[in-house]
Assembly symmetry: C2
Homo-oligomer: 295 residues x 2
């Protein structure tokens, strides 16, 4: 299969949903502008695409999940806006563009993040997009996303990340941060594909194992790219994590060993999918694509 | 009926749910501590109580709605934490205690707010609390709350509030701010009581009219108290809104006229309930209680 074509098509589907959903101008204009500024700042829509690919692998018709899958990008975008704030990572650039608070100021940036997070749940609870998806499954999937994003998931990881700045690198804490800050929402992405497809419980273990491995791999690769990549390609100052002494995989294990860990995680992710046939090829190809990405 | 007893009992039910729900210590400890610091900083649980009272008026058994009604307090608390931030209202005190960022720092305060908001949706999508409540109604009520809190509701009001600081007071803008920042979530509180009780559409108009009137009255009274009350009773520096030249009802209409507006709104709210008998007495009494509150 042509994974680049697949990624492009699914990204287009997600973006087209957003364009349609946000086409109506709402008051106050600056709020919607700030939300859309970060939403269209170059995100690859990896989380929605993972949800779509998992939904397909579990027998769903990809069109139906697009609105629900797209909410993962709203949540991801909110987390980036808040992470970049002066009181957190204090980043001026994100994907080569000024961060939200650099353009709109801190107050509007915080509120644009709040709005994106809340809007995700508004869309996810909109049953007008459902045809074959059951309302009970929608509720179950929504809870999966809330748990992965909240104080049991992403927010816990971000708090631990902040607490660990400038402290002695620790393996367990690094694992906790990555599993919560990054892997939880990525794993939830493939899980909601499974839930919304109404798929059998027999597949669930495979999907979760794929999600956890790919989620952790994603962050390890991010850490490596942060050290290796050049600013132009990555869109943020290289080594910015090292500058404020964040614990990362390369800092703890060195670059070569980190690369090996990432390769092993991707290999484990793909192995988890052995009970699926060709319908899971997009999931497999996405795993390799993430391993080889340059930004 | 004894409204003080009623308010006390319902507040106890909400607090007891929180104590039980948050009894398990989660990592990182400081996140949970920051969340609970503001959650137990003296809130009167008005929004949950309104949801419970509306649920009762529409024939529901109050015990069942407590977990879902409680999420309104999580959302309200998150909004206070973010409103108090240095980049927003920059308040040092809230209900007589140091604000969240004064105790935990800005980063943790922002994340504690994010966590409370997200946890609200996690609880609201937990069907294990349902006995007679239908999952379809749960989804519908959740969407009501998301719409009232997000960029179509509370967040829009807060953005407009910030944009309007130090500008010429304007009646329409003031109405927009109050309807979105305060009334939307209060109106949603009574609406979800109606939805979760599976009540007939015939009652809905009455409940919405009550909610909008009481929601706006609540903010007008807040504006009056902010000017009149003394710091000790109110727990925040008196006139803090005037200090930074926020548009308020008293600024626009004077105190006497504002009091009259509040009285009229409460009277309209109570009149809306004429199709209900004694089962709506708590809603009626809450309206008068809010009008006469001193803090």
């Amino acid at each position: 299969m042509d994974i680049k074509k697949y990624l492009h098509e699914k990204k287009e589907a997600v973006d087209s949903f957003f364009h349609n959903y946000f086409k109506e101008q709402r008051r106050p204009a600056v709020l919607q502008e700030a939300m859309l500024y970060s939403l269209f700042a170059g995100g690859k829509r990896i989380r929605p695409i993972l949800a779509i690919a998992s939904f397909e692998a579990c027998g769903g018709n990809p069109d139906e999940i697009v609105p629900y899958a797209s909410t993962l990008e709203l949540i991801h975008t909110y987390s980036l806006i808040h992470d970049d704030l002066p009181s957190m990572d204090n980043d001026d650039l994100r994907r080569g563009k000024p961060t939200n608070h650099k353009v709109y100021g801190e107050a509007i940036a915080i509120l644009a993040g709040d709005a994106l997070l809340t809007e995700a749940f508004s869309i996810f609870s909109d049953t007008s997009f459902c045809r074959t998806i059951k309302q009970a499954d929608l509720l179950k999937a929504l809870r999966e996303i809330a748990n992965a994003s909240g104080p049991r998931g992403m927010v816990a990881g971000q708090v631990q990340d902040i607490l660990s700045e400038n402290s002695v690198p620790d393996k367990d804490i690094l694992q906790f941060i990555h599993m919560h800050k990054t892997a939880a929402l990525i794993c939830a992405s493939v899980k909601i594909g499974h839930i919304l497809a109404g798929s059998s419980k027999d597949n669930l273990g495979a999907i979760i194992s794929y999600g956890n491995n790919i989620g952790l791999a994603f962050q390890v690769i991010d850490d490596i790219l942060d050290i290796e990549g050049d600013t132009e390609e990555l869109g943020k100052p290289v080594g910015s994590d090292e500058r404020i002494k964040k614990t990362t995989y390369p800092l703890l294990h060195g670059i070569e060993k980190s690369r090996e860990i990432a390769r092993q995680l991707v290999s484990d992710a793909v192995s988890s999918l052995s009970i699926f046939s060709a319908e899971a090829d997009p999931l497999r190809e996405i795993a390799f694509y993430l391993l080889n990405r340059r930004n």
